[in-house]
Amino acid sequence: MRIAVCLKRVPDTTAKIVVAPDGKSIDEAGVKFVPNPYDEYALEEALKLREAAGGGETVVYSLGGDAAQETIRTALAMGIDRGVLLQATAGADGLEVARALARELKEGGFDLILFGKLAVDDYNHQVGVMVAELLGLPCVTAVAHLTLANGALEAEREVEGGVEVVGASLPAVLTCDKGLNTPRLPSLKGIMAAKKKPLEVKPAALGAGSVTILGLSLPPERKAGQIVGEGADAVPALVRLLRDEAKVI
C-alpha cells in the first residue's frame, strides 16, 4: 500500500488574525503555525492503513515556503516515512496549487492520495478534488468513515440531514473530515527518528493563476449588546426584544 498525504502549514486555530501592511495577507509576527487540523486526519488514516496492510510506504507532500519543512517533520514524527517539500509561494488560485501537486503525484504510483477536507486558513475547499480531476482518479470528499477491501473503498460523508454512503475503486483521492480517526501525537522516539528521515526539497512551478487578491480585512466588530437580566425572570423581556426589536421570532 502506497499512500501520499498532502499537508499544509497553517496558523494555529487559536491565533489572533492581524492584517499585514500590504492589506492582502496576515501579519505572521508572533503567529504559531501548525499542520492543518484536517490534514492530521489524513496523516493518521495513512498510518493506520499502512499498519493494517502490514507494509508499504507513506509520503507527505507539502507545497509552500521553507518553513513548511518543520510541518513536514511533524508528520514524519507521527510516523510518515518520508517527505517532499515543493517550494513555492502559493497564491489564491487553488487550481494552480492542484496542478503543481498533480504533476508531482502523477508518477508516484500511489494507491491513495489523502488530503484534509479544507485548509483552515483559506477555506478553499478545492485542491484535493481538483488534483483527483486532473489525475483522472475517483475522489470522495469529507470522508468521516472509511473501509477498504479488495482494492475498493466504501466511505461515508456527512450531507445535510444525513450520511452519504459512497463506493469507489483504488487508486483514489480522499479528503478527510473530523470523525475519521483520532490523530496520534508524535512520540519522543518518533521525533528523534523524524530527524533522520528523508526530506526532499525541490522547487515547484506554480502558474500565476486567475484569482487576484484585492484585500484582506477584519470583519466589522459586533456592536456591544445588552444584558437583558439575570435568571429566568429575564426571559419574558428577552422574548419581547427578539420579537419586537430584532424581529427574529
Binding site: T13, D93, V163, E164, I227, L242
Partner: protein, 322 residues
Amino acid sequence: MATILAVLEQRDGALRKVSLEVLTAARRLADQLGGTVDAVVCAAAGVTGSDAAGRHGADRVLTAAHPDFGLYQPDGYAAAVAEAGKGAQAVVFAATAMGRDLAPRVAARLGQPLASDVTEFGLEGGKVVVTRPVYAGKALQRVRLDGATAILSIRPNTVPVAEAPRAGAAASATVPAFTGRVKVTAVRAAASAALDVAEAAVVVSGGRGLKEPENFRLLEDLAAALGNAAVGASRAVVDAGWRDHGAQVGQTGKTVSPSLYVAVGISGAIQHLAGMRTAKTIVAINRDKDAPIFKVADYGIIGDLFEIVPRLTAEIKKLRGE
C-alpha cells in the same frame, strides 16, 4: 449575451430551498451584466418545485436527466454541469455538501478559477469580485476571478431569496457520456430529521455548561418550539463525544449565518466566535457574566441555564400559541 449558470440541487426529486438562494445570486449577476440565467438541475426525472426557478430569475431551466441521477453522482453530475457551464460568464453553486464536492470538479474540468463559500459578490470592470470569510471568519478576503468563467459557491443563508419572475422555460440539458468512478449508493437519514446547522434559520447551540449530554434535550425542546431550528454544539462537547461533529460550530466545524443564534452554556472561545459571528442576532445564556460570548451577543441573560432555557421554551410556545 452573457449567461450565468445556476446549479440547483434536488433531494428525493424535490428542489432544495438553498437553490432559490443560488438563483437569486445568479439573477443579480445576470442583471449587472445584462445577461440571462440558465438553471441546471441533475435528476432521475422531473424535479418537483422546479417551477419556482422561473419565479426566482431563471430564463431557462435545464434538466440533466439520467437514470442514476436520483442520488448525487459526482462524475455524472460534473460532466453534465461542466457541459452546461461551457462559455458561461459565471457558474453559481451553493456551498453545501454537494456544492463543495461538485464545484471544484467543474472548475477543474473547465480549467477556470473557483471561489468557495462566498458571502458577497458583484461585478467590477466586467469581472466577478467576491468576498469570502477566511480563517473561519476571523478575516474577510476580497478576490477577483479573472478567468473567462467565474465559478463561485455561495454560503447558505447569506443571500436573501428574492422573486424575479422570468420565463423559466423548461429544456433538457445534455448529459455527456461519463464513467461513474465514484458511486453514491445510499443516503442514510440522520437519526432525527434534524436540520443542518449550516442551513437552519435558527441555531440553538450548547456547550460544556450543559454538564451532561442528556441535557441537550433542553435545547432540542427549545429548537422545536422555535421551529426551523437546528441544534449546534461547541467543539468541547463534540470532542467529548456528546454530539456529532456535524453539529459543531466554529473553526474546525461549521461557520453559520442564521437569523438567530442562541448560545447556551458556551463561554465563547475564539474558534467558536469565528464560526457564528455573522449571525443576524445572537443571544447568550451563561452563568459567567465575564464569558467572552457576551461580548458578541446582542442580548444576554446571566444565570442558570437549567432554569432559563425551559422558561424560554415555554414563553416561545406561548407566543406561538397566540
